[in-house]
């Protein structure tokens, strides 16, 4: 049957359009629920994503950590010679040791201190993939020089602004004077409000309690074509159990799993999104239920005229479908705006990605269909025999 043959009066859309107040209430409810879901899921993903911004930058195939390390904020040391031992494997091409610890940074403007994540490495052998370290990285070989993460939270002081203005920015870490030699762009995470890069030598000066010969992270680069999993298995066998061998992805998962399982962050944000879903369901159900109730005599009239119940059910379903489609649009736009605002305010890497946009759309769709399904039970009360 062709389109024009089967076309009917678009009852569902006319019912929505001709009742603008009801439509507005429904759309406001759906948008609100959508925004809530976008916000909660965005925060959740953003926080988990942010927790590994630094991890992702390492140019390594395998990573050594201490089995006592639980996360980026609690990194324990292990003997550096384990990293050297791994060179015994034929597939290992290169190694780099990294010092990793939280330090107290003094804000050069307000003189207050705050915890910052400091990484110490050999400036001759940088370990970041992209973007490459700035030319100032070479200055790190001078003692007391650091590279400051320009995406650090503003509580650390206007370091980046001052540096760009050409001023000499000096501050203090654990009572030792340091000078900012350059800027890098990394980003904040759960554990770290800011990041600092320095040479291993300066790092050990700043943290005199660290045992020499002990490192927190060992990066291993493999020869092209080497099987990372196989080398991981060989190294695990070769090295004593005072180190853990992880692939780079395993290292990222290790960090994310900590925040996922050892904290209630994932649960809380998922619960928040679920709340949005429930609130949306209630609002859409209320609107559709009242709509069906108000039009009950009209539905009964249509049944008396010979329309099938299925047709009337179709009207309610279509109303739900239309509400989902129209309501998603403002929710999506508001979500975009919200993410922009959150990025600006918290410097968390929260952004609209296709998966989340699709997830929220599906949730709104399910929400509206569920509500329509519940509301259409009211149609049972449409008795055409009662309207005479």
């Amino acid at each position: 049957m062709s389109f024009w043959q089967s076309r009917r009066i678009p009852l569902a859309s006319l019912m929505l359009i001709r009742q603008p107040v009801r439509l507005a209430v429904a759309l406001a409810g759906i948008s609100f629920a959508g925004i809530l879901m976008f916000m909660q899921l965005g925060f959740r993903d953003g926080l988990f994503d942010a927790s590994v911004t630094v991890h992702r930058r390492f140019d390594a195939d395998l990573v050594l950590i201490s089995p006592r390390s639980t996360s980026s904020v609690r990194m324990a040391g292990f003997p550096e010679r384990r990293l050297v031992q791994s060179m015994a494997d034929a597939d290992v091409e290169g190694i780099t040791s990294v010092h990793w610890s939280l330090m107290l940074w003094r804000n050069p403007e307000t003189r207050t201190t705050r915890s910052i994540l400091g990484l110490g490495f050999d400036p001759e052998d940088p370990f970041f993939i992209n973007p490459d370290l700035p030319p100032e990285a070479a200055l790190l070989s001078q003692k007391g020089r650091v590279l400051f993460d320009e995406r650090s939270r503003p509580e650390f002081g206007p370091v980046a602004e001052w540096f760009r203005d050409g001023r000499i920015v000096e501050s203090e870490i654990s009572g030792n004077r340091v000078r900012v030699a350059g800027l890098v762009a990394l980003g904040t995470s759960f554990g770290a409000d800011g990041n600092l890069l320095t040479s291993s030598e300066t790092f050990l000066d700043l943290m005199p309690n660290k045992a020499p010969g002990s490192i927190e992270l060992g990066l291993i680069r493999l020869k092209p074509g080497a099987d990372a999993a196989a080398v991981q298995a060989r190294l695990t066998k070769l090295l004593p159990n005072d180190v853990r061998v992880l692939t780079k992805q395993g290292f990222i998962d290790f960090e994310q799993n900590y925040w996922r399982s050892s904290t209630s962050i994932g649960f809380i944000f998922t619960l928040g999104a679920a709340m949005g879903f429930v609130v949306g369901c209630v609002i859409v159900y209320q609107v559709l239920y009242t709509d069906v109730s108000d039009h009950l005599p009209e539905y009964a009239t249509l049944m008396a005229m010979g329309y099938r119940v299925v047709t009337l059910v179709g009207v309610v379903v279509r109303e739900g479908l239309l509400l989902a489609l129209i309501g998603y649009l403002p929710a999506y736009l508001a979500g975009q705006g919200l993410y922009w605002f959150v990025r600006d305010a918290t410097r968390l890497p929260v952004g609209m990605d296709f998966t989340r946009a699709f997830t929220v759309f599906m949730m709104i769709l399910v929400m509206c269909m569920l509500s329509a399904g519940l509301a259409m039970r009211r149609l049972v009360d449409a008795d055409p025999a009662e309207i005479f």
Partner: protein, 227 residues
């Protein structure tokens, strides 16, 4: 030609068991194609019940009912729904869809004709509205129409589905005498042109003369008289 409606020994009860109340008692009635029958009687005597039974809106409990050649005894929900497509109904209140314009309301009737295209059905709706004298009010919502105009839209909607039988329950109840007269005359004329039988329940003594036949009902029984 077979009768449009033929009823023998129809009885109907509301409620169950000891609380049940008999509203129809052995009703016999037959309506010929094209005949206009008026049904009068005091309120609560079972007129509306009879109308809903003929209109295939209720299940027949006892007696024989045949409408437009189809027996309604034990008819399923689906077959009653299909039969209703051939029956036009006009209600005491106009029962128009508030969200639809006059034209769209009439097209809801025309949309039951599955063998015609959308545009043909729309033209049909416009034609019917012109036939009831509302050619200038196609795009008005029921809200903006007077009582008489609304009832005329309802007539157009009922006739747009090409019914073989038209059931009307006090179509003039909400109208003043002049308008009521006009509406009934219009109804009769259009039904005649379509060769459509009409069964109209009314209290209104001013319109009794449009009937081919007058039927009186009292306490669930029919008393025929020639009109």
């Amino acid at each position: 030609m077979a009768a449009a409606v033929s009823i023998e020994g129809l009885s109907h009860w509301y409620g169950r068991g000891t609380n049940s109340r008999q509203v129809l008692q052995g009703v016999d009635l037959s309506i010929q194609p094209g005949e206009v029958v008026l049904l009068t009687g005091p309120s609560g005597c079972g007129k509306t019940t009879l109308l809903t039974l003929i209109g295939a809106l209720r299940k027949v409990q006892q007696g024989q009912v045949e409408v437009l050649g189809q027996s309604l005894n034990g008819a399923s929900r689906g077959s009653r729904q299909r039969l209703r497509r051939k029956i036009g109904m006009i209600f005491q209140g106009h029962n128009l869809l508030r969200c639809l314009t006059a034209e769209q309301n009439v097209q809801m009737g025309a949309d039951l004709l599955l063998d015609q295209s959308y545009l043909a059905r729309r033209d049909l709706a416009r034609e019917w509205l012109r036939a009831v004298g509302l050619g200038d009010h196609l795009n008005k919502l029921p809200h903006d129409l007077s009582g008489g105009q609304k009832q005329r839209v309802a007539i157009a909607r009922a006739l747009a589905a090409h019914p073989r039988l038209l059931l009307a329950d006090e179509p003039t109840a909400a109208l003043d005498s002049t308008t009521g007269r006009e509406v009934v005359d219009l109804l009769k004329r259009l039904a005649r042109e379509q060769d459509c039988s009409v069964l109209m329940v009314t209290h209104d003594p001013r319109i009794l003369d449009v009937a081919d036949r007058l039927v009186k009902m009292e306490d669930g029984r029919l008393f025929s008289s020639v009109g």
